[in-house]
């Protein structure tokens, strides 16, 4: 949310640390850390699927849930968004947490039975098959939204987004038509943890999201660099003429 960032900038940056308890062990973490960051910095492993350190966390997958508070008033929160606060008590592997994680994994196994990553993660949690109904045995998308966030935050074009609600939820271009906004960079396919975004490259043409992108060949070695549309996007961002980018990284 860009507005959020604006509001954050108004506040002065701090380097203050707070003390929290993870699994009963007292650790210190910078005030602006999330529970996940604090845990990982101190060697506590929490599984994640939709988290990426370079992207804003939105808490889609709910695999990173941890239990906070003290009995009997505890609750599960996603560690990737929950900020550390003084004296916070966190359990990363309590019964309640593990039960929720196992169900989440079982549900994802039923949703995306062909996703290898999910099978591996589930096996680590002692789950080898799901008790739930499998609709499409070929499905691999787990709707983690990494592709959508990458396209928006890193690439900056927002060519794809989440479309529809639960029954038809999917990642799609607007109206599922070839998107004018897409620059064919393939970042979405690169970030995808389950390799579900298909793209092909043949005879100097990359095909992704239903569109063909002509690839630019390097002026020096002749190898293909990137789609022309992507180089034009770079030119627009930097203000340099597009020809600046017609030489590949190796020949530069």
């Amino acid at each position: 949310m860009p507005f959020q960032k604006l509001a954050d900038q108004v506040k002065a940056p701090t380097i203050e640390e707070v003390g929290i308890y993870i699994n009963g062990i007292f650790v210190r973490a910078p005030q602006e850390f999330t529970v996940l960051q604090a845990a990982r910095a101190n060697g506590f492993e929490i599984p994640t699927l939709c988290y990426h350190r370079d992207l804003p966390s939105e808490g889609h997958c709910r695999l990173c849930v941890v239990e906070i508070g003290e009995a009997p008033r505890t609750r599960l929160v996603n560690s990737c968004t929950y900020p550390v606060e003084k004296g916070l008590k966190v359990q990363t592997h309590s019964d309640k947490v593990m039960q929720a994680r196992r169900i989440v994994l079982e549900l994802l196994m039923a949703r995306a039975p062909a996703a290898e990553l999910i099978k591996e993660l589930a096996a680590e949690h002692g789950i080898h098959e799901t008790r739930f109904h499998i609709d499409d045995p070929q499905e691999r998308c787990i709707l983690c939204g990494l592709c959508v966030r990458t396209c928006k935050e890193i690439v900056g074009v927002s060519a794809i987004s989440m479309a529809n609600r639960t029954p038809e939820k999917q990642v799609a271009t607007p109206f599922k038509e070839a998107s004018e906004a897409c620059i064919g960079c393939g970042s979405c396919a690169f970030i995808c943890p389950t390799n579900v975004i298909p793209y092909t490259e043949k005879d100097g043409v990359r095909t992704i999201w239903g569109r063909n992108f002509e690839l630019q060949a390097c002026k020096v070695c002749g190898n293909y660099i990137e789609p022309k549309a992507q180089l034009e996007h770079w030119a627009q961002l930097t203000g340099d003429p597009v020809e600046t980018f017609f030489v590949c990284r190796d020949c530069r």
């Binding site: 949310m1 507005f3 959020q4 960032k5 604006l6 509001a7 954050d8 108004v10 939105e58 808490g59 889609h60 997958c61 709910r62 695999l63 849930v65 609750r75 599960l76 929160v77 996603n78 968004t81 929950y82 900020p83 309640k96 039960q99 929720a100 169900i103 989440v104 549900l107 994802l108 039923a110 949703r111 008790r131 739930f132 109904h133 609709d135 787990i142 709707l143 987004s161 989440m162 529809n164 609600r165 639960t166 029954p167 939820k169």
Partner: protein, 617 residues
């Protein structure tokens, strides 16, 4: 309409308004609420206009279309003031008689008044009707008093008195203090103490803050907020201005679902009127306080009633909830401190400040103060809007106000709090209705839906319906809610189609556990309530569906079986003619037989047979 230039000007205007109105002047109030409007209240009002003119009464008798009068089952409702004669089921044909008998002759038209089914007594006056007797309305009080499109009407019943009091004699802290002391809790479902929320937001740094009214009422069968927005829009606006003053907001939004066009129209008109009058805009009533309001329309997503999704929707993003913290009071709309309250909460505010927090807190229970509006629907005689003090028992609401169940059927369950509420069985009828009691029996207050069910409802089917609704409306952002509801929906389809297994119930319980604890927002967390409550209180019905492959309430079609009793069947062939698939055969004048392989269980034979020879089980 003049722009109010000073407090004295407002006092003067109100005085003149009062002087120009005679409280004894006969007034006809035609209900224009959500229930009566489709039954023809506009035509009835038009008929009154004609009939009054015919008798030379136009000018002598005031005619108004007002907001919801509550007893929707008996619409179109007409109230004659000052006698408070309540007519029901009025059609255009009845109008000349009412004018002739009541307005000219001063008599009551007996056939149009409520008759108590228990005693047979006629209840001519509003106060005598049992439905109204048990109510003590605060939020709905003005609905059958004012014309919602007239600011003068609102002013004449003391409207914007609170605004004046707040702006010129109270500090923001005093306002928050009063709301805190009143014990008002959010009426949208969460039940968070309103005053505390305001204080958190007041103490947040930041020059720009927002106020939002949540009018995205999406529960099936609920129309409390709609009735208030349509019937008393100025009360919502006044409450919001007071709230804005308290937390220091300069801009507000009213988020209304676009399926409520009349509410949008009335609110828009009311905002324009308030702005013209100087109640909104720069330097309200010449004070130093400035505030203005905008309407934002929802696009039909149930999940946008969730506060963070609602704000995302106003910002122009997909209506998906976001994890908290940060809470809206800290970083809400556009990342700035925001107070978001439900329509009914806002409508409570003016009266709390006006009559004092002690007066308000005198009603209700220890932890739930004031009154609550419920939309009482389902298998109950007097469907409609009721407003009762917190702590009123379910029995009082359903049997005393609601007049019991349709056709004297036995009570089975009541679902409170909309689609994600729990189904409460008969053993809890004496339960006092407040936030905490409802939670203890596995349901929620929600925004105040109340669906009464009799023995013709199959509780498995009821849960299947609500899970289907929630599945269609879940945004699909987080795994437990999206996949959990998908699986629950599948399991319900299996069970109601006769393919259920006892292990499915374990799966359901596991799903409920994960969804309730690990979903991002209230939709997923509370979606388990209909499942858990029916599993707990009506487990035998699940078992009948699974083990015996039978639906005890005879609702789930795939589990029904139609046979013909050879002893009773006369062989008239009426059923044979009706059967759309030709499943019934036999010799004329002899007993017929249904081929179970062909039968699609449509039930036409059962309805057609005049000799009760078709057996349904």
């Amino acid at each position: 309409m003049p722009k109010i230039e000073s407090i004295d000007h407002l006092t003067e205007y109100r005085r003149k308004l009062k002087a120009s109105r005679d409280p004894k002047q006969p007034t006809v109030l035609v209900c224009g609420g959500p229930g009566c409007l489709p039954l023809g209240s506009e035509e009835v009002a038009e008929a009154f206009k004609g009939a009054l003119a015919e008798k030379g009464l136009d000018g002598k008798v005031i005619l108004k279309t007002c907001g919801c009068q509550g007893l929707c089952a008996k619409g179109v409702k007409v109230l004659i003031r000052p006698e408070e004669i309540a007519y029901q089921k009025v059609t255009t044909q009845d109008v000349p008689e009412i004018v002739e008998q009541t307005l000219v002759g001063g008599a009551v038209v007996d056939r149009l008044v409520y008759q108590d089914p228990a005693t047979g007594d006629l209840c001519a006056h509003k106060g005598e009707v049992p439905f109204y007797k048990g109510q003590d309305p605060m939020v709905l009080r003005k609905l059958d008093l004012v014309d919602p499109e007239s600011l003068d009407d609102y002013l004449s019943v003391g409207g914007y008195r609170t605004l004046r009091k707040v702006l010129f004699s109270m500090t923001p802290d005093e306002v928050i203090d009063q709301v805190e002391r009143s014990g008002l809790r959010g009426r949208g479902g969460g039940g968070f103490p309103t005053g505390r929320k305001w204080r958190i937001c007041r103490e947040e740094e930041g020059a720009v803050k927002f106020i939002i009214c949540n009018g995205d009422e999406g529960d099936p069968g609920a129309f409390m907020d709609r009735a208030v927005m349509e019937g008393d829009p100025h009360a919502v606006i006044e409450g919001m201005i007071v709230g804005a003053y308290a937390i220091g907001a300069s801009q507000g939004y009213i988020y209304v679902r676009h399926e409520y066009p009349l509410a949008v129209k009335r609110l828009r008109l009311a905002i324009d009127q308030a702005r013209e009058f100087g109640f909104l805009g720069n330097n309200i009533l010449r004070s130093k306080f400035s505030f203005d309001l905008k309407i934002s329309q929802g696009a039909g997503a149930f999940v946008c009633g969730e506060e963070t999704a609602l704000m995302a929707s106003i910002e122009g993003f997909i209506g998906e909830p976001s994890p908290r913290p940060p809470y809206p009071a800290q970083a809400g709309l556009f990342g700035l401190p925001t107070i978001i309250n439900n329509v009914e909460t806002w409508a409570n505010v003016p009266e709390i400040i006006n009559l004092g927090p002690e007066w308000y807190a005198a009603q209700g229970t220890e932890a739930s103060k004031g009154t609550k509006v419920f939309s009482l629907v389902g298998a109950v005689n007097n469907t409609g809007l009721v407003e009762v003090p917190m702590g009123t028992t379910l029995r009082q609401i359903i049997f005393d106000l609601g007049g019991g169940l349709h056709n004297g059927h036995p009570f089975k369950a009541v679902q409170t709090g909309g689609p994600s509420g729990g189904c409460i069985p008969e053993q809890f009828l004496e339960l006092p209705v407040d936030y905490d009691s409802l939670q203890q029996v596995g349901s929620i207050m929600g925004s105040g839906g109340m669906i009464v069910m009799d023995n013709t409802s199959c509780m498995v089917d009821v849960a299947r319906y609500f899970i289907g609704f929630l599945h269609a409306e879940s945004c699909g952002k987080c795994t437990p809610c999206r996949e959990g509801l998908t699986q629950l929906k599948y399991l319900y389809e299996e069970i109601t189609n006769g393919r259920g297994e006892m292990e499915h119930l374990t799966l359901m319980e596991d799903l409920c556990q994960a969804m309730a604890s690990a979903s991002i927002c209230g939709l997923g967390q509370s979606a388990v309530n209909p499942v858990r409550s029916t599993l707990k209180y009506f487990r035998h019905e699940y078992e009948a569906h699974i083990k015996d492959k039978k639906c005890p309430a005879l609702v789930c079609r795939p589990l029904l079986k139609y046979t013909i009793d050879p002893e009773t069947c006369t062989g008239c062939l009426a059923c044979v003619r009706e059967c759309p698939v030709g499943a019934i055969s036999g010799v004329k004048k002899e007993a017929q037989e249904i081929d179970q392989e062909i039968c699609i269980k449509c039930g036409l034979c059962y309805e057609t047979c005049q000799f009760d020879a078709v057996v349904r089980e």
